[in-house]
């Protein structure tokens, strides 16, 4: 592995200054699970590593009734998944966390790092000078693209690899970002970017900026939520397609809700038509079929991934049936 010098700032401002203004000079180390892979594969070649773990308060979770959940960026995935409040109230997040990677990686990886992880596209991770690495070509466009995106693609066709990000998007979460001279909070919806906006990054972070906290609003008591992840192995795999649903259930019909999708787009994905249709929807076979039919009608599958459309439509029906049971 490439050598680098190591820095242990005591506060976020110092960390931000150490990161500087250029991507390749210095990188942030939280759990390190994605970072070490990137360095070992020569995708990232930092001269300096900035360890975030001496910065106080980033490993704390707070819940306040009415205000919701505030999660420090350095909270380990397994610690978050094990919390009663997450399991009972934010079930969709607990399920997405439990579906992430392997027990060891969940003991190491942090929620902030998980949101900021780089894509798993085999051309990006492999020895290809692809668009996302500053090259001229997306090799997936005409290559092996079974696992690539069906929506939001072009000129690069990655899918975003995070499970918790999909759950957090359905939960209407936001992230706080600290930089050299300011701190601000943005909805998760505006945090991720598409290749058409920036083909080399997956989010809005500048080199000197750091995700410090994630906020999840409180939920009405009639909320039911869940996450279904379709993968090729039973465990320890990235999503082929995943669906997160957060529904407010009335006595006879869904009052309203949001759904978000993983494995389909370069960022955690939402479709307004689906969320609109959930409004006062009665859960019947006919209505579920209608909902599935309006989902992903704008999708543009590549040569090998058209199967994702019926798959995501069936998962939409399945997750609603599960939550309505």
């Amino acid at each position: 592995m490439k050598s680098f010098s190591y820095h242990q700032p005591k506060d976020i401002r110092e960390a931000s200054n150490l990161l500087g203004d250029n991507w390749q000079d210095a990188l942030l180390n939280a759990g390190g699970t994605d970072l070490l892979g990137l360095i070992k594969h020569d995708i990232e070649k930092p001269d300096h590593l900035v360890n975030l773990k001496a910065v106080k308060d980033l490993d704390k979770v707070r819940y306040q009734e009415g205000k919701g959940l505030s999660i420090g960026a350095l909270v380990k995935l397994n610690d978050l998944a094990a919390m009663d409040i997450v399991q009972n109230k934010y079930t969709v997040l607990a399920e997405a966390l439990q579906e992430t990677a392997s027990p060891q990686l969940r003991n190491m990886g942090t929620i902030g790092g998980n949101l900021c992880q780089r894509p798993r596209c085999w051309y990006f991770r492999g020895d290809f000078d692809c668009l996302r690495k500053g090259g001229e070509l997306c090799f997936a466009a005409d290559g092996e693209n079974k696992y690539h995106c069906i929506s939001g693609g072009g000129p690069c066709f990655i899918v975003h690899p995070s499970d918790p990000a999909v759950a957090l998007l359905a939960l209407d979460a936001s992230v706080t970002i600290a930089g050299k001279d300011r701190e601000y909070t943005v909805p998760l919806h505006d945090f991720f970017v598409l290749p058409e906006d920036d083909v080399m990054r997956e989010n809005i972070l500048q080199p000197h900026e750091i995700v410090t906290r994630i906020h999840v609003p409180d939920l009405p008591s009639n909320t039911r939520s869940g996450y279904i992840k379709f993968k090729e192995r039973d465990v320890w795999d990235f999503a082929v397609v995943s669906v997160a649903a957060v529904l407010r259930m009335g006595s006879e019909r869904i009052e309203g809700g949001t759904m978000a999708f993983g494995g389909v787009a370069p960022k955690p994905w939402m479709e307004k038509t689906i969320n609109d249709a959930l409004n006062r929807m009665e859960v019947t076979d006919t209505n579920l079929d209608s909902l599935a039919q309006i989902a992903f009608t704008d999708a543009l599958p590549l040569a090998q991934n058209g199967y994702k459309i019926p798959l995501v439509r069936n998962l939409i029906k399945r997750v609603i049936r599960t939550l309505n049971a």
């Binding site: 050598s3 680098f4 070490l36 892979g37 990677a101 027990p103 060891q104 003991n107 190491m108």
Partner: protein
């Protein structure tokens, strides 16, 4: 001459590496009281050759050393401390052969920086035994034949210990999920699961 030749042959690669390793250990590692040491830090921003101080506990022993920042935990464990029970297979945090416990929880030692273990306690497979006595998990893997070639076994056993720390009496589903970060190329999975069940009863 013949005798010497025989002796040199009987010295396994492992013994050689251990001997070599412990020479390094003697030279660079001090045992000290583990205190709430401040986290390590390099000197100046641009000094790349600077080695960093590291203090941690490995199998109950206190270790203080200096390492280059890009040293992984398994490189420290195997190359510096000569604890070669922990195996490297994929070296990418995917197969689980390198699993050790960090403050009681299973982690991939090939895929974390040794500096991230600063001030923490590491247990490797060598740390499970009490003197010459096998740990209940080791006994269970032998009794239930929880292996074929055995190369993944140290990692399987440490993952199992991490699981039992979290769930002392795991059900079948907890075992399958809890052990899912460890790959066995011989596919001894049913007997590995049986071994964990047996160990939980001990």
């Amino acid at each position: 001459m013949a005798k010497n030749k025989k002796n040199s042959r009987s010295m396994s690669r492992r013994d050689f590496m251990k001997g070599f390793g412990s020479g390094v250990v003697g030279g660079s590692i001090m045992l000290q009281t583990l205190h709430a040491a401040p986290p390590p830090t390099t000197g100046t921003f641009k000094d790349e050759s600077n080695r960093v101080e590291l203090t941690l506990k490995v199998n109950g022993k206190l270790v203080q050393t200096k390492i280059t920042p890009h040293t992984t935990l398994i490189e420290l464990i195997r190359d510096k401390l000569a604890l070669t029970g922990t195996k490297v297979v994929c070296n990418h945090g995917e197969c689980g052969a390198c699993t050790v416990l960090l403050d009681g929880r299973a982690v991939y030692s090939c895929h974390m920086l040794a500096l991230d273990a600063h001030g923490k306690e590491v247990i490797t497979v060598e740390g499970l035994m009490q003197g010459e006595e096998l740990h209940p998990l080791q006994e269970a893997f032998i009794e239930k034949d929880g292996m074929q070639c055995g190369f993944c076994t140290p990692g399987q056993i440490m993952a199992a210990q991490g699981l039992l720390n979290e769930h002392p009496h795991p059900n079948r589903e907890q075992i399958l999920k809890g052990m899912s970060g460890n790959i066995c190329r011989c596919s001894a999975y049913p007997k590995i699961a049986d071994s964990v069940v047996a160990a939980a009863k001990k």
